[in-house]
């Protein structure tokens, strides 16, 4: 019985070792989506700022037009 248990333990240990070796290891810094998120954030930020400026220009144009009328 003891021999059987030892064999089972060895088998379990070997399986776990093999599993951990075959599983891809998650390394820090390998996530390309993080890079994508930063790119979207920065260019999105710039885009919304330009939209804000565009809105202001349009409001000024309307003001000038209404004054001319």
């Amino acid at each position: 019985m003891r021999k059987l248990m030892t064999l089972a333990a060895i088998a379990a240990d070997t399986t776990l070792t093999q599993m951990s070796q075959s599983m891809p290891e998650k390394k820090a810094g390998e996530n390309i989506y993080i890079v994508l998120a930063v790119t979207v954030l920065i260019f999105g930020g710039v885009f919304f700022y330009l939209l804000y400026l565009d809105k202001k220009v349009n409001r000024l144009k309307k003001k000038v037009e209404s004054r001319e009328e």
């Binding site: 390394k27 810094g29 993080i34 790119t39 920065i42 700022y49 004054r67």
Partner: protein, 225 residues
Amino acid sequence: MNLKNDWWKILLGLFLTGVIVAAFLYAPRAKALGETTRILFFHVPCAWVATLAFLISATYSILYLRKNEVRYDAWAYSSAHIGLIFTILATVSGAIWAKEIWNAYWNWDPRQTSIFILLLIYAAYFALRSAVEDEQSRARLAAVYSIIAFVTVPFLMFIVPRIYESLHPDPLINAQGKIKMDVKMRQVFFASLFGFTVMFLWMLRLKVQILLMERKLESQIVTER
């Protein structure tokens, strides 16, 4: 869009598109940083533009105090405004990177602490402006504050990260004064820096024009009354 006048805007758009493509496909990865190396091409130019914007703001503030012309105040205010936006972008993009590498968005690293203090200093600039009603006093007070605020910029952006132990990757120009960067990475990096600078100057000009037009309209309305 007038092609004769706006050709450079289209060129800038194409240039920045090229920079994004090159950042993902041309530039190699640094060993320790993996794929997140590519964040450098967008995160550092944001910090650079913020520094440049605060420098321009301080310069126009000095000009305002010397010549007392409203247009200088408009330049100083607009530059600080865009500088603050780019500081926020640099802070948030840095925090996203930190989550991947340090496993936490925020851990009060000297870099993070110094940029946070800078954010507070320039947020106070806008709080000060909005607290004063009289245009002349507001411009004068803001000019003095902008000059004092800029004194802290070299300390917070360049000195603090170099004298304290930090987890942040080596700054581009490190303590030895040398640029340790792969040639391809350097090409993309400086191209990005150039693109961001031109984009900033375009945004600044737009913002100043809007502000001056608004002021002109307001003064016309007041004189008509």
